[in-house]
């Protein structure tokens, strides 16, 4: 089947097998290996990306379901060499060790902050419950998400992430926010 997908601002048109998972399309066809596969039952969340601004586990989405959509991955978050505040917060709070869960954890955290721009500890823990980390015990991840929230006001979400098309309002806003993350 032929699909057209925009990934991190670049448009791709490809023939894919109907059974191809989005995560395999991203990794094997597009070389977007920043997004990883950690399980085969959609429990671990390592493969989390954004589909039209909402977080999805890309092992649970077929590539053909992404036809016509915008996909955002960890590789598209930093702009002009400037880390996104959520990336900066993960670094600042030592919220990663081996880093394998980190791309998914970051993408899920952004989704959480889009829904709740100022989550308390419990809300963060519940918001990232579908993403497993074996290294950190989560404490510093929770801190990082809350720290990012403070640097990201007025918040995350589909609008803030949009990079393609004529509406570029989101990009400068994100850049401003990133600047505020220092």
């Amino acid at each position: 089947m032929r699909i057209t997908v925009t990934v991190d601002g670049t448009s791709y048109t490809d023939d894919v097998e109907p059974r191809t998972l989005l995560v395999h399309y991203l990794r094997e066809r597009l070389g977007k290996v920043g997004t990883v596969v950690g399980c085969d039952t959609s429990n671990c969340g390592a493969c989390t990306v954004h589909l039209d601004g909402q977080s999805v586990k890309s092992c649970s989405v077929l590539a053909v379901q992404a036809d016509g959509a915008e996909v955002g991955t960890i590789e598209g978050l930093a702009r002009d060499g400037q880390l996104h505040p959520i990336q900066q917060a993960f670094h600042d709070n030592h919220a990663l060790q081996c880093g394998f869960c980190t791309p998914g954890m970051i993408m899920q955290s952004l989704d959480l902050l889009a829904e709740n721009p100022d989550p308390d500890e419990k809300a963060v823990r519940e918001g990232i419950e579908g993403n497993l980390c074996r290294c950190t015990g989560y404490q510093n991840i929770v801190r990082a998400v809350q720290d990012a929230a403070h640097h990201m006001r007025p918040g995350a979400g589909p609008e803030a992430e949009r990079v393609s098309g004529t509406d570029t309002a989101g990009a400068p806003r994100t850049a401003d926010i990133a600047g505020g993350g220092e």
């Binding site: 059974r19 990883v36 085969d40 394998f100 823990r125 419950e129 074996r134």
Partner: protein, 816 residues
């Protein structure tokens, strides 16, 4: 000019490693693609014990994209037997361990055949076309049954299920008294049986191997903790010349002991690539990982403590059964033996006997998992101290204090013959008690008991120590381990004054690049950012013993220090020549050699450039400012600490939750507080997970029923509390930095603290033990019936409930 005045060691530096990891600019093994690369999939045995009567792969071979199907018979002459480097006794029994089964399988998940194809999808599709006939044999699953006379055998050819029995007796060793005498003369004797359930390391990055046979050397990328050991073992197992093998561990996504292995998959990926002359990649699925990567723990522990009525322990006897699973992997037999030195823990025990029998079953092989032998020991002794306190109606902290080694008694040689260099159990405990509000929580506990609150409070204690920093080579030799415990480092000063450090210890998430940079910045007086740490490739880092057993800093970090000292010594000679003075007149600080009593100085960077030019060097001095050092530690390192846990137990539902967790750890001098805290957090999570959530369960036919993350319950953020961590710092006296290991401490200490707390809440109902994991069903059943054992309700995969928050059904629904 870069120089540091404020010491780098001790600074909460943010990690250098993060930049790539937070942007997706990573090099996991599965990310690697090579021209012409083929993909491999593995057909695994559904049966736990069977004879292979026939394999028909003809149809699979004809399938689209399939290049080859390889069975064990096809490579029987070249695959050798997977290595076991730790023959704990001279008469240890060990079955041959082919990478692909040849004529029989001994656990469900063992490889039977592999398909190599153009794509991973085609390889997996073709697996279904292979027709295998298996004739089932009786399975051995229970250790107590396995050691009985005339029982079924996991390996009929061996004639027994017992691999080896290893004994330490303080009476015989001369390090203490006779434990049988201590027991017979004791005023109080407490006997208990504990169960260490089977666990799965559960690293987040599934294992992956790529082998490229097209160069002069075979190059293997593997998601491994041990590239150097792997290279050597490949050479020895496959009779391939060592210098024709290069192993690279690129970014490795966690290990926890689970990647301290020479795996069947590494061996047969190598053989497939060699056979086909093309690069071959194998990446496992999570189910494959849970099924076939080695498991951990799995012991039955029988302990006897002899004591006086005043609480003084007079003897300790330990009898273990340790499940090896179906085969002995790299260090399987030695894992329980490491515990032999730790059952006596922080206590002065005058008589001690340890006996461990390693048993074969038809289950996935076990091997190292975070702590390896020491969590088992710590759990058992810390549970026993609580049992003794209950028996004598004493406060559990008081009974510990009565028996522990006092801070003024260090260095102290224990009944199991280790010499603890330093420690201060009083200081750590005092600090922990204050942070925890021990007395306040005890009051609340009494009050809740008084009013019959349906949610009861329990307080659990673990005052632990551990031996880590594996290890002095002579000690490993005396334990019949197959190698030494040294570590290697080298340093290259580049002409511009920048520094390359080559580390033999290979990280998989720990942060070596950051920590080594801090150490070198101090030693050489260069900037933190001027140091690059190279590792994980046997071509650029040719020597090393790799990362496990909390050894990187206390062995590898010290090798870095020793290499830096050699650079400074060399630079001193040259600086003296440049400034026309005696080397003895020079002081080195902040990266500068200064002629004592003058303001005349030369920076080490200037010396590096002068050495590169080599125009005017002293006679006999080589034009390089490089060095290398191999460091063999004189002793283990002995971190310790006091962990206090308050658990709330809902007596109506059996649901337990951590109300408060305080730990004060003493890991000696701290190089980077961020990294230390992170290691503690992660360690606690894994230790708590053993106490409450995780268990690898097999059904009666030997099938793993916890083969997905839906069933094997790695805790999520919603399952864990925030921890309160603090430190005391009693420097180690056996290394120049004063550091101790930290990688396993949290895991070792936390499990008994949690279980002791659960029991402390429910002892009032006649409960004396609850086997791990303390799932709601088990806790509820114990409260209702007093039954402690695993089995019955709650024994199924996922503990019957999983990580669902019973108080919030909408969250459970949102867990996807």
């Amino acid at each position: 000019m870069t120089s540091t005045i404020e010491p780098e060691v001790g600074k909460a530096r943010l990690r250098k490693e993060d930049a790539r990891l937070i942007t997706g600019r990573t090099r996991w093994t599965d990310n690697i693609t090579l021209p012409g690369m083929l993909h491999m999939a593995v057909l695994r045995s559904p049966s736990a014990h069977a004879r292979i009567t026939s394999i028909d792969a003809e149809e699979a071979k004809r399938a689209s994209g399939v290049v080859a199907v390889i069975t064990g018979a096809d490579i029987a002459d070249e695959q050798g037997s997977l290595p076991c480097a730790w023959p704990i006794t001279p008469d240890m029994k060990s079955p041959g361990a082919p990478s692909i089964a040849v004529d029989h399988v001994a656990f469900a998940g063992e490889a039977i055949a592999v398909v190599v194809a153009r794509s991973a999808a085609e390889a997996h599709d073709a697996l279904e076309l292979i027709d295998v006939d298996l004739k089932d044999l009786p399975v051995v699953l229970d250790m107590d049954e396995a050691i009985k006379e005339g029982t079924d055998l996991a390996h009929p050819d061996l004639g027994t299920n017992t691999s080896a029995t290893w004994v330490f007796d303080s009476g015989e060793a001369g390090s203490g008294g006779d434990v049988e005498q201590a027991i017979s003369e004791a005023e109080v004797v407490v006997r208990r049986r504990f169960r260490q359930q089977r666990l799965i390391p559960g690293f987040m990055e599934p294992r992956s191997v790529v082998v490229d046979p097209t160069g002069e050397q075979f190059t293997m990328w593997s998601s491994t903790q041990v590239p150097h050991i792997l290279r050597l073992m490949l050479a020895m197992t496959l009779a391939v010349p060592e210098h024709k093998v290069r192993v690279i561990a690129p970014d490795v996504g966690g290990g926890f002991g689970g990647k301290l292995q020479v795996t069947p998959e590494e061996v047969f990926t190598f053989l497939a690539a060699r056979k086909l002359g093309k690069p071959v990649k194998w990446t496992e699925s999570r189910s494959e990982s849970l099924l076939s990567a080695h498991h951990g723990r799995d012991q039955i522990q029988r302990l006897t403590v002899a004591a006086r009525r005043d609480g003084t322990v007079t003897g300790l006897k330990v009898d273990l059964l340790a499940d090896m699973g179906a085969y002995l992997r790299l260090v399987s037999p030695g894992v329980p033996v490491l515990g032999a030195f730790m059952f006596n823990a922080i206590y002065k025990i005058p008589a001690y006997r340890f006996s461990c029998t390693n048993v074969f079953t038809n289950k996935t092989p076990t091997d190292a998992y975070r702590g390896a032998g020491r969590p088992e020991a710590t759990f058992a002794i810390e549970r026993m101290m609580d049992e003794l306190a209950v028996e004598l109606d004493m406060d559990p902290l008081e009974i510990r204090e009565k028996n522990w080694i006092k801070h003024e008694e260090f260095p102290y040689t224990t009944v199991s013959t280790l010499t603890y260099d330093s420690g201060n159990y009083e200081a750590a405990t005092e600090k922990a008690k204050a942070l925890f509000d021990y007395d306040g929580l005890r009051r609340e506990q009494a009050e809740r008991r008084e009013r019959g609150d349906k949610v009861q409070l329990g307080i659990g204690i673990s005052t632990f120590t551990e031996m880590c920093g594996l290890a002095p080579s002579r000690v490993l030799g005396s334990l019949a381990y197959g190698a030494g415990g040294w570590e290697h480092a080298s340093i290259r000063m580049l002409p511009t004054g920048k520094v390359e450090v080559v580390s033999g210890a290979t990280p998989h998430g720990q942060g070596h690049e950051t920590a080594w940079s801090q150490i070198v910045a101090d030693q050489l007086g260069v900037g933190f950012d001027d140091v690059e740490v190279l590792h994980g490739d046997t071509q650029s880092s040719p020597k090393g013993m790799d990362t496990y057993g909390s050894r990187s800093l206390v062995v590898g970090g010290i090798a870095v220090v020793k290499a830096a000292e050699k650079v400074v010594a060399k630079a001193r000679t040259i600086a003296a020549h440049m400034m026309e003075c005696s080397p003895d007149d020079l002081e080195f600080a902040g990266g500068k050699f200064t002629v004592r009593g003058t303001d005349k100085s030369t920076a080490i960077q200037d010396i590096a450039l002068a050495v590169f030019a080599a125009h005017d060097l002293p006679d006999g001095v080589e034009p390089s400012l490089d060095s290398q050092a191999s460091y063999d530690p004189e002793n283990f390192s002995f971190p310790h600490g006091t962990h206090l846990c308050a658990m709330e137990v809902d007596t109506e539902t059996g649901s337990v939750s951590v109300r408060k967790y305080v730990c004060v750890d003493d890991v000696g001098t701290v190089v980077n507080p961020n990294i230390v805290e992170g290691q503690i957090h992660g360690g606690l999570a894994q230790g708590i997970a053993q106490a409450l959530y995780e268990e690898a369960v097999h059904d009666e036919s030997g099938t793993l029923t916890t083969g997905t993350f839906a069933d094997y319950l790695i805790p999520s953020a919603a399952d864990l509390p925030s921890f309160e961590t603090d430190r005391t710092e009693t420097p180690s006296t056996t290394n120049p930095l004063g550091v101790k290991g930290v990688g396993e401490a949290g895991t070792i200490a936390s499990t008994p603290a949690v279980v002791n707390a659960v029991l402390d809440a429910v002892r009032q109902y006649g409960v004396t033990d609850i086997e791990m994991p303390c799932t709601p069903m088990r806790v509820w059943q114990a409260i209702q019936t007093g039954a402690s054992k695993a089995g019955g309700i709650g024994a199924e995969s996922g503990g019957g409930l999983g990580s669902i928050d019973v108080n919030s059904s909408d969250i459970a629904g949102g867990a996807q």
